[in-house]
């Protein structure tokens, strides 16, 4: 039983990274209607910005997170304002081509700026070490990730449900024309929503640096998993993204423990079953 609990906790920390990326993907699609396949690149940029500020500029861990958010926020703003805004009314193929082009641009940009070698950031001293859980050492940082992921989920919930801006966002997501008619500045709202989505990706990337590496190809790997999460949870549903991330993270970890050689098979089987039984995803349609 202790193995089960311990592994589930590990899965939970993995799930939180997935959640942060999938949440941004969901916001961009749910509000702006943009299927941003370059969302993983924003995660990657967040990781590189955090590394640069923490390791090179010598900022502390928390300031490096802020630095990563500012950097990714600016990129998100530029992407939406000067590129994506022009194709909102175009078929989805245009979005896919444009955002795929962004993947190539960002991958090569990181190679030009940070080089092609992988970068290995160090663990902040604040989070070094383990604490015993069910008699086994559990990394403090992984525990922090679990709390951070849940905190972000709560913050998103509060923003969307308890603030005036969140109400406007939900209004624009469900009835764009009607929201526009009642005086909501839709272009500005879309820009803000896309920047918010970029921030979510960036915080995931920035938080990943102490235990993973910065690498120009990491965005592609992340986005595949994020799409699996959103397909299971329902594209456009934040609740679905959270539950989907938990399913992929925790079940994936438990499969590694009990049926290690069919872990990926099980995860994709879950996705296939969801697609067959409920093609819109578990929470598809809910915003």
């Amino acid at each position: 039983m202790s193995n089960f609990i311990f592994q589930a906790l590990n899965g939970l920390s993995s799930a939180m990274f997935l959640w942060l990326v999938a949440a941004g993907l969901t916001v961009a699609f749910g509000v702006c209607g943009i299927l941003n396949v370059a969302h993983g690149s924003l995660y990657m940029m967040g990781a590189y910005f955090a590394f640069t500020s923490f390791q090179i500029l010598g900022l502390n861990f928390w300031l490096s997170l802020v630095f990563a958010l500012i950097g990714a926020g600016i990129i998100g703003f530029l992407m939406e304002r000067f590129f994506l805004r022009r194709i909102y009314d175009q078929p989805i193929e245009f979005q896919l081509i444009l955002t795929f082009a962004f993947i190539l641009v960002f991958d090569n940009l990181t190679k030009m700026i940070w080089g092609t070698m992988l970068i290995i950031p160090t663990m902040p001293s604040l989070f070094q070490g383990t604490i015993p859980i069910v008699g086994r050492p559990f990394p403090i940082y992984n525990l922090f990730i679990i709390f951070a992921g849940i905190a972000v989920a709560l913050i998103i919930w509060v923003i969307l449900n308890k603030t005036w801006w969140g109400m406007k966002l939900r209004a624009a997501a469900s009835q764009r024309e009607m929201a526009n008619a009642i005086g909501i500045n839709i272009p500005m709202l879309f820009t803000a929503a896309f920047v918010f989505a970029a921030l979510l990706a960036a915080i995931g990337g920035a938080l990943s640096t102490p235990i993973r590496v910065c690498d120009s190809g990491v965005g592609g790997a992340v986005i595949i998993q994020a799409f699996v999460v959103t397909v299971i949870g329902g594209l456009g549903s934040l609740k679905g993204a959270f539950v989907g991330a938990l399913i992929i993270g925790v079940i994936g970890a438990l499969c590694t423990l009990y049926v290690p050689f069919i872990e990926l098979f099980v995860l994709y089987l879950i996705m296939a079953v969801v697609l067959i039984i409920r093609p819109q995803g578990l929470f598809g349609g809910e915003r």
Binding site: N3, F6, Q7, N10, G11, S13, S14, F17, K111, T116, M117, L118, I120, T122, M123, T130, R136, P137, F138, P139, Y141, N142, S208, I211, R212, V213, D215, S216, G217, V218, A221, G252, A253, T256, L257, P260, F261, L264
Partner: protein
């Protein structure tokens, strides 16, 4: 009659002498050699080290008069460790750029994809890193794809060698695998398990986990293995993935567990890993339990030839040479030797020259086995230590040297040694 025979003999002798000279004269002014390896992503250092090794060899050769007077020109491409990209690169290098010889290749899958197209391209490929035994045992020996050679050690190094080392450690009874989920990882583990069990029937496999290519989060796999409390884990994920995995293992406190004795990181002796592991080795986080091998080690053997190679490499590039650099360097010299022997760029003649060739590598002589085109040489294994007086990076020490004859599988049956 005797006079006629004598004249004929002299004529034949002259033809014999002059023919090579004619062929040498037919060599182009520039001999083009095309390399490819991974130069982007988490394993990029392997390709960059290949470039460094190739640059060094090309400069040395050109500064000493080229190959029979022909200058050597090198072009290197990023294979991205993708079979499709590597195949496209190989075709470009030969058909468009005009390469006379190909070298490099980091992965087993890419090696297996290129071997079948080399006869069509009518060029020789010398693999310098990709390790699957299927290249030499199946593609070359059984299928007869004889344009491909390998100058680096195969998976015998990753599976059989550690088994030969740890069979003599009676306290190691519970073993587990953390495999890269593709040919290389599976082969290495299979060889390790079979060989160890052959000598030590009391050994028990208590855990198996695997991770796909370019995996990032190994904590579920590590936790699953830790639950089984193995004495030894044999791990095959390499490069950046290997570093992430070891970092996550430290975070989980694996190396602090009293029951855990050895982590064998198959290609962990590579320079990118040594550099990345240095802070943790220095801080004693592995407790002397991290073992590794490689496909060449800069600190073995302690010979003037190897020392000179390392010193020159460091002076030129400011880093220690990885095995991918040393192997590419050796591959280019093997090609040079073959051209000098045959005085030709004819692929079939070069193949014959390379079969059974003994070529000098920085770490000594390598014999290219004629049956399966596999270079035979010894690389030791050791455990990681840090000593600034020896090296600014962590390095493998207390090296265990087992001659290659004891751990290589051999044709025709490729039975375990």
């Amino acid at each position: 009659m005797k006079k006629m025979t004598g004249i004929l003999g002299i004529a034949l002798f002259l033809v014999f002498i002059l023919t090579p000279a004619v062929n040498a004269a037919e060599l182009p002014k520039v001999i083009k050699i095309g390399g490819q390896g991974v130069t982007s992503g988490s394993k990029a250092d392997y390709g960059h080290q290949m470039i460094m090794g190739a640059q060094m060899a090309v400069e040395e050769i050109n500064n000493s008069g080229g190959i029979l007077g022909s200058k050597v020109e090198m072009k290197f491409m990023d294979s991205e460790i993708k079979a499709a990209v590597a195949t496209k690169n190989a075709r470009y290098l030969v058909k468009d750029w005009g390469a006379h010889f190909l070298f490099g290749i980091d992965s087993s899958g890419v090696s297996m994809a290129l071997a079948p197209i080399m006869p069509e391209l009518d060029r020789i490929l010398i693999i310098c890193h990709g390790a699957t035994h299927k290249v030499n045992e199946e593609a070359i020996f059984k299928k007869g794809l004889r344009n491909t050679f390998r100058i680096s050690v195969p998976t015998y190094q990753d599976g059989t060698l550690p088994a030969m080392i740890f069979k003599d450690r009676p306290e190691i009874k519970r073993i587990a695998s953390l495999a890269a989920a593709y040919s290389y990882g599976y082969s290495a583990w299979e060889m390790f398990e079979k060989t160890l069990k052959k000598y030590r029937p009391d050994v028990e496999v208590v855990g198996k986990a695997e991770a796909p290519f370019l995996h990032m989060d190994f904590t579920p796999q590590l936790n699953a293995l830790m639950a089984a409390k193995p004495d030894l884990i044999l791990a095959t994920p390499w490069g950046g993935e290997g570093l992430m995995m070891l970092r996550q293992a430290i975070l989980l406190g694996l190396f602090e567990q009293p029951w855990f004795k050895v982590w064998f990181q198959c290609m962990g002796g590579s320079i990118d890993m040594a550099e990345g592991l240095t802070p943790d080795v220095k801080a004693g986080k592995f407790h002397g339990k991290l073992w590794a091998t490689a496909r060449y080690l800069w600190n073995w053997p302690d010979t003037p030839r190897n020392k000179a190679f390392v010193a020159k490499f460091r002076e030129k590039f400011g880093r220690f040479p990885n095995y991918s650099a040393a192997n590419v360097h050796t591959a280019i010299y093997a090609f040079k030797k073959a051209v000098e022997q045959t005085k030709s760029l004819d692929t079939q003649k070069l193949i014959k020259a390379l079969e059974g060739m003994k070529v000098q590598a920085p770490d000594g002589e390598r014999w290219i086995r004629p049956e399966d085109h596999q270079a035979c040489y010894t690389v030791p294994a050791g455990h990681y230590v840090y000593d600034r007086a020896v090296c600014p990076n962590a390095y493998l020490s207390d090296l265990v040297v087992i001659p290659w004859e004891k751990y290589y599988r051999n044709p025709p049956d490729y039975k375990l040694p």
